[in-house]
């Protein structure tokens, strides 16, 4: 008996003899006709070409479009970088006159807002909200009347929008009017605006909802928020009223006694004076309660400025990211100003090519791996 390997060897030789020249020629003819059919098919060649060139063509088109768009944006932002010309002052608007002037001495903290806290942009508001020490005076009165409390409330909210600042401000004004609030002041520029108003605390949520809708990220930033118990202001007036009333009672008792006419006249004058005082105190008490029953609202509206807006002042150089963005943006701005539009586009093409090419290579690598893996899986399933 021959070893198995030898039998296999003989069988292999015999099998090779099976594939005769005639058979080879027949198969070759079949292959040639298949080649002609496959490679002259317009759909096949078109698809082949598309599949090969599509990724590169897409990348090139994307880079050029991005470069042109960015160059255009940069040009616009350069125009925007001019001193602000738009200024809105509610004091001069006719609507202001239509609104009821409720409280005259409302004042807001002199906060200058610029940006919402995205990235490392400068935000002056972060520095002003210093928490007061947690302490209270034992002799301070925190209630008045029948254990009632009075609070002084104020809130500063911020939104960032892609919409026009003027139309955004108009939306908020309308909402405040609808909420029966009082507009105090609006001031701003093309890139930001500040709106100040007072309104019923229960209507604040309506305004917040509107602000969230107007914000590009559908969120409202609360910059500052304060509530202070001011019940003592009313309690002091209450004490004054009680004191005046007590004096009236004392003088009234004296009037019933045996006193001279001169003395009676003097006492009656005192009583009249005390009664007037009580009226004044009561009026002041009502005014204070009325004033503090409303919340003071400040809304800071910022217009979104993308990276390529080249407004390098918006970045905080104290942080690493901010400093890097500051320098890059400044350099790009210098290029923009010192060169023409075509060169700017070329520069942006170079920048985007450097940024996107590694990403493209990575995506292509991953895509090929995935396709190969899927093919393997398919083959395994077939097997």
């Amino acid at each position: 008996m021959k070893p198995i390997e030898q039998r296999f060897e003989q069988l292999r030789t015999a099998l090779d003899a099976l594939n005769t020249d005639a058979r080879r020629t027949r198969m070759e003819q079949g292959i040639r006709s298949a080649w002609i059919h496959t490679h002259t098919s317009p759909m096949y060649t078109f698809r082949q070409r598309i599949m090969r060139t599509l990724p590169y063509a897409s990348l090139s088109v994307a880079i050029v479009c991005l470069a042109v768009f960015t160059a255009q944006q940069t040009k616009e932002s350069a125009i925007d970088a001019e001193p602000a010309t738009l200024s809105i002052h509610a004091d001069t608007s006719s609507e202001k006159l239509e609104q009821k002037q409720k409280v005259a001495d409302y004042s807001f903290s002199d906060t200058e807002l610029s940006q919402k806290t995205y990235g490392s942009r400068i935000n002056l508001l972060d520095d002003i909200s210093i928490a007061p020490p947690i302490s209270f005076r034992e002799d301070e009165t925190y209630t008045y009347g029948n254990n009632q409390q009075l609070f002084d409330e104020s809130v500063a909210l911020g939104i960032e929008t892609r919409e026009n600042i003027l139309s955004t401000t108009q939306h908020i004004r309308d909402a405040i009017t609808e909420a029966e609030g009082t507009l105090i002041r609006i001031y701003g520029s093309k890139h930001s605006a500040t709106l100040q108003a007072i309104l019923d605390p229960h209507r604040l949520s309506t305004i917040e909802q509107l602000l969230a809708e107007l914000d590009m990220g559908r969120t409202v930033t609360t910059h500052t928020y304060s509530i202070e118990n001011v019940s003592s202001e009313v309690a002091i007036i209450d004490e004054d009223i009680a004191s005046a009333q007590s004096r009236i009672d004392t003088y009234t008792a004296k009037l019933n006694g045996n006193i001279s006419d001169t003395e009676r006249k003097r006492i009656e004058t005192y009583i009249t004076s005390a009664q007037k005082q009580i009226e004044q105190y009561t009026q002041a008490r009502e005014d204070i309660i009325k004033a503090h029953s409303q919340i003071r609202l400040a809304v800071y509206i910022t217009h979104y400025q993308p990276f390529w807006a080249l407004n390098y002042q918006q970045y905080d150089r104290e942080t690493y990211t901010g400093a890097a963005l500051y320098e890059v943006t400044r350099a790009l701005r210098t290029v923009t100003y010192s060169t023409g539009p075509l060169l700017t586009i070329i520069v942006w093409i170079a920048v985007y090519t450097a940024m996107l090419t590694p990403f493209f290579i990575l995506v292509r690598f991953i895509a090929r791996k995935i396709i190969r893996y899927i093919r393997r899986k398919k083959d395994t399933l077939t097997q």
Binding site: R7, L18, I31, T382, Q383
Partner: protein, 172 residues
């Protein structure tokens, strides 16, 4: 050790777009593919059809072949194996009986009798072992390529071939 040579990467690359280069590729590998498919079909006419089908698929898919270290023939035989499996799955045919197929070969009676025994022994083995021995001894494929085709590690492949050969010895 395999006695077959491989085409260079350049020649394979050229075959994607050049008809003559593809015909060269076909001539170079046709015997191996034909024998490979004959062993799985045991039918000369069917093996010829499937060989042609294999090369047509290769013609269409050659641009997807990327050289990863494994020889081109591994990829080619993998395509041929898939073609054969797809054929039997679609048609539902089973390979021709070992005796008939052996008789199709023009060889001395003594040899034919030995091959009939060999076929019978092979048919008794599990499919995986039969596949391994066929690839190793009839298709003359090196162990590393068999491992690539069957998607297993070379060490595992060697161990399984050794085990399959022992089983075949027992059967014969």
């Amino acid at each position: 050790m395999s006695s077959y040579t491989e085409l260079s990467a350049k020649e394979i690359q050229r075959a994607i777009h050049d008809e003559e280069a593809f015909v060269v590729l076909f001539r170079h590998y046709t015997d191996r593919v034909f024998r490979f498919l004959w062993m799985r079909t045991r039918n000369t006419e069917l093996a010829e059809d499937l060989t042609q089908e294999t090369f047509i698929i290769v013609m269409k898919k050659l641009h997807t072949f990327t050289y990863t270290g494994a020889p081109f023939s591994s990829w080619l035989l993998q395509v041929a194996l898939n073609v054969a499996r797809a054929h039997f799955r679609k048609k539902g045919n089973t390979p021709t009986h070992s005796l008939d197929s052996a008789l199709q070969l023009s060889a001395p009676n003594e040899l034919v009798a030995e091959w009939i025994d060999l076929y019978a022994a092979l048919d008794k083995l599990p499919e995986e072992e039969r596949e391994l021995l066929t690839l190793k001894y009839l298709d003359d494929v090196p162990v590393s390529e068999i491992a690539y085709i069957l998607n297993i590690s070379p060490n595992t492949c060697s161990v399984r071939i050794h085990r399959a050969l022992s089983h075949l010895h027992t059967s014969v």
